[in-house]
Amino acid sequence: MAASVREKQAVALKRMLNFNAAPLKNTAAEPVWKVLIYDRFGQDIISPLLSVKELRDMGITLHLLLHSDRDPIPDVPAVYFVMPTEENIDRICQDLRNQLYESYFLNFISAISRSKLEDVASAALAANAVAQVTKVYDQYLNFITLEDDMFTLCHQNKELISYHAINRADIQDTDMEAIMDTIVDSLFCFFVTLGAVPIIRCPRGNAAEMVAVKLDKKLRENLRDARNSLFTGENMAAGQFSFQRPLFVLADRNVDMATPLHHTWTYQALIHDVLDYELNRVVMEEGAGPEPSPAGARPKKKNRKTYDLTAADKFWQKHKGSPFPEVAESVQEELDTYRAQEDEVKRLKCIMGLEGEDEGAISMLSDNTAKLTSAVSSLPELLEKKRLIDLHTNVATAVLNHIKSRKLDVYFEYEEKLMSKSTLDKSLLDIISDPDAGTPEDKMRLFLIYYITAQQAPSESDLEQYKTALLDAGCDLSPLNYIKQWKAFTKMAATPANYGNSGVKPMGLFSRVMNSGSQLVMEGVKNLVLKQHNLPVTRILDNLMEMKSNPETDDYRYFDPKMLRGSESSIPRNKNPFQEAIVFVVGGGNYIEYQNLVDYAKVKHGKKVVYGCSELSNAAQFTKQLSQLGQK
């Protein structure tokens, strides 16, 4: 994996946009214009990777949704990037009939079946447009890469493969098959883009095993099919730079139910938890006025701002995993550096004004012109920096407001203590009945974590007490039913997950961190320091990568699609530790696990870890799914 998955996918997209020829490096090349048409899936894949400006640079004048009204634009080639579903094919056929564009380049996100291809062919014939359909490609890009080392499977229709869809009681076999097929198809596309055939390990007896079996079969079939194997030729050459094959660990959400509900303290995870954050884009409301407007006046318009948090944003890349107080300090630092640079530029103006009157000031002038040139050329960078600082200040302030109003730091501390089984200084009942500490949802989450991590179930009377307290606070108790079932089930199956020892030290005795002149005054918010600990998923990965023997993971099945005979044994043939790993969670993932894996990879030098999940859900969405499951 010399280049990250994100780069590979971006390169593949750029190739596609260049009519599937390698893009030229010529700086002053003739512009060739084209129109890009995508469906919602294509939009989700393209938007985290390429900005509108980059699309423009590649010559794309218009980008439109497939199912919108489109006017005919003659003499222009059109590049389609869609999923091969029935409605999309129908719409393409309709376009062919209406002769909207001059030539058509059809790119299907995942492989199109023979019958659907014939549908397109017959429509093209009927419209006499066969010559116009210039190229048809299967792109195998059916996954969304959000970061260099994180991907998810889908964002549209994610409730079809969510935790709720997989674990509900009334699921049919056919539904399950369909869900598994979707997941396996996307994973297959992922490995084709990566260009490597992994070794698969998965636990027994749950959805992850089904996915592993199917994926193994699909990879095996494709490898055997010598004619059109996707893993030969130049793909393999790229993948062979690493002499080892990557390890692919499939985990099921059921192995760790507390992490999705956990209140978190790192920047990116907080944004995902507290604000509206999808596909690297934050949507916030500006100017939230706390006071009601005076009677008779028109209500103040709240405008929504969207911010893109991209890979080019250096501050974001550096700090997306840092604890929140560190982020606040860094924003302040950046602001100070920026102000210093701005002052220098302004000072130059004064100097220039003075020197203009001096007669024999040619030599000094030369120095100043050089300074002026450098100042002017650095202006665009300064402006960009200012924009980023504003962005992060706004986002961090919004997050801080949420933390303060919901007292999320208290929750975080308490949950860390619960998960590490250290002594609790406040009773759970106190927190639950505290009226101004968090929304009912927060309290429910806290209680669920307590229930999940408790060694023995609390006694009936205790439980009743908690329930009444929760009902008083206005919580919905249906997730609790489901968690009870789950706990009973997992207790039978295996030992409950151990969350490792994590200590949470409140930093010092001061409970306020005042930055002079800072807008982010963290009054009353404890400055908590995270000590490194490993979540269950990270521990599983560690065991499998280092070939450590552990009762939890010894039982995992072993699949190697390259072996001639599929074996049922779970004895790995390869005894060396792996250098690269891909962790995939079936049933929903979150940024907390991702951050934990990133930290783990940093500690172990030279190992690369990629995190994937079937869908990303924050705690609110996950609780909703649990309550839906509990209501059955």
Partner: protein, 290 residues
């Protein structure tokens, strides 16, 4: 990674064709294909392509003669590859005229596109196409100005070399002259004066060279400033519009308030009148009754 299934597609087309023939489904006779689509050849596309081909020609021309143009050429080089300054000036002029015509053509296309009544998407598409062409033209212009900057620098350096060379011949000349006509003191005086003049000229030349460099820099900066000022101008224009709108609104608001006060006052007068009339009528009834 991407699999080209165009051949598969063509094969399916053939299958469908044979299937249709077998079923006997009538499809459009191949005659229509000969007439192809007599689509309205909207003049936009070919014109845009023409502009692009022109710009490409200019680029090729510049790149072709770049080596010759830029070659400093030692004083003793073959005449074949060296360009005279006249030729260089000619190239400069031609290139400038060409670039001007191209940008004129782009502007014209833009106006035409605006005037034509078309769908919103088509208009946006055309705008974006023209932007792309402009960016391309700007890139080629940059090539040209780079070339020109190198040329200016070389001539400046060359002049410096040329100026320093004549120093020696002048001195030799002095010493070779017969000393019958001038006395040794006068010769020495002349020599000193010569030296003085030469050093003066040198310092002048130095200063001029420096100033020239500065002026080039300043002109570049000025270009950037001009761009920024133009941007600000548009922004100021929009702010002006907003302010005008705001004053209008405030004026109307004042009018409305005046109206309201008047109505309020009028209303009060009527109420007072009504109350007075009521009390008078009461008094009258009372007096009438008793």
């Amino acid at each position: 990674m991407a699999v080209d299934i165009t051949l598969l597609f063509k094969a399916s087309v053939k299958t469908v064709k044979t299937r249709n023939k077998a079923i006997g489904v009538g499809f459009d006779s191949p005659k229509d294909e000969i007439f192809k689509r007599s689509r309205p050849k909207s003049g936009f596309s070919p014109k845009a392509k023409e502009v692009i081909s022109n710009i490409t020609k200019l680029k090729d021309f510049l790149l072709q003669h770049r080596k010759d143009y830029v070659s400093a050429g030692s004083l003793i080089s073959s005449d074949l590859t060296r360009m005279t300054d006249n030729e260089r000036d000619q190239i400069d002029q031609d290139a400038q005229i060409f670039m001007r015509t191209c940008s004129e053509a782009i502007k014209q296309l833009r106006n035409e596109a605006e005037k034509q009544v078309t769908s919103a998407q088509l208009r946006k598409h055309r705008g974006a196409v023209l932007d792309l062409i402009e960016v391309y033209l700007r890139g080629v212009c940059k090539l040209y100005s780079e070339q020109r900057a190198i040329r200016v620098k070389r001539t400046v350096d060359k002049k410096r070399l040329v100026l320093e060379v004549p120093d020696n011949p002048v001195n030799l000349w002095d010493e070779g002259r017969t000393e019958d006509e001038l006395s040794p003191e006068e010769v020495q005086m002349f020599e000193q004066e010569n030296q003085r003049l030469v050093s003066e000229m040198n310092s002048l030349v130095d200063e001029v060279r420096q100033i020239e460099g500065k002026v080039v820099e300043i002109s570049r900066l000025q270009e950037i400033f001009a761009e920024k000022v133009l941007q600000q101008e548009t922004e100021i224009g929009s702010i002006h519009q907003l302010v005008v709108g705001a004053t209008e609104n405030v004026k109307e608001g004042n009018e409305d308030i005046r109206e309201a006060i008047k109505n309020n006052a009028g209303f009060r007068v009527w109420i007072l009148f009504f109350l007075v009339m009521c009390s008078f009528s009461l008094l009258f009834l009372d007096w009438y009754d008793s």
